[in-house]
Symmetry: C2
Subunit: 165 residues, 2 copies
């Protein structure tokens, strides 16, 4: 055992208590009433990861790849998706919507996308998009997604899609 | 110095390296490619805090208390607010919108609100609301807010408000 023997009083148990109390710089401070640092915003590797996941989501949406879309949403009763015409709470409602959705007319062009990350496990993706209907008319919309990284990967925990008036 | 002298090899420096590598249970694991624990979801004190902040935001919105609304949005070029008729990027655009907004007709009734928190510094608030116009007609809307706790307190980092078709 590390730190056993005559070093016990200054060894790991004492250090573990000290570290738990003070928090560790670079780990974020996780006690309930201390905030994370602004320096955690848009860490290069984290932002690149979430951008790639967002690309994957967009491809799955346009292709109506329902298994991929379901995989990328958090599997939880707490997940929320507000769509243009529906308010969905929990995985069961979202999956039922995906399965029933017509595959046609999902193509869209991204006009603008903003990705911002916080620490190593949280991010927001904001998208403006345009759709062209069969008659050539164009409509604008917006999509907001709030992502978290879970042991199984990045997942949308809350999403809101709406048309632009 | 703690752990100095003949305990150096099993003392704090060695432990600090070990702790940084492994992460600490209960602190969340903060290295870039390891996710936080599901057990961090809806910690009672954190959820109660965010719920209270959401109450404060709702009161400020209905009263058109512009300073309070501005305070509760993250002051950053990365903050986003998609409204019913506007897409706003960064604090300057959001504050200009707040100042120009008519104070009338902001009253609304909350139909449903869901609050979910992740760890001690992240949460999502999803709201369905109803407004009654001067002629008595009712319209439904949805509001999604993504909150982070900063040193200055909880702030909305991304928001999306839309009417229901």
């Amino acid at each position: 055992m590390i730190g056993s023997g005559n070093c016990e009083k200054s060894g790991p148990n004492r250090w573990l208590r000290r570290v738990r109390f003070l928090g560790l710089p670079g780990f974020g401070r996780r006690d309930p009433f201390t905030a994370v640092n602004e320096s955690d915003i848009n860490l290069t590797a984290v932002r690149a990861e979430l951008t790639a996941v967002s690309d994957r989501y967009e491809a799955a949406l346009v292709a109506n790849d329902v298994p991929a879309l379901q995989e990328l949403f958090w599997e939880s009763p707490y997940v929320v998706r507000f769509g243009a015409t529906e308010n969905l709470y929990g995985t069961a409602e979202i999956e039922a919507f995906r399965r029933a959705r017509p595959a046609a007319g999902l193509a869209r062009t991204i006009i603008r996308r903003e990705v911002v990350t916080f620490g190593t496990d949280t991010g927001a993706v904001s998208v403006e998009f345009e759709r062209t209907a069969a008659d050539g008319s164009r409509t604008r919309g917006r999509q907001s997604q709030f992502w978290r990284r879970f042991p199984e990967g990045w997942r949308v925990v809350s999403a809101h899609v709406s048309g632009m008036k």
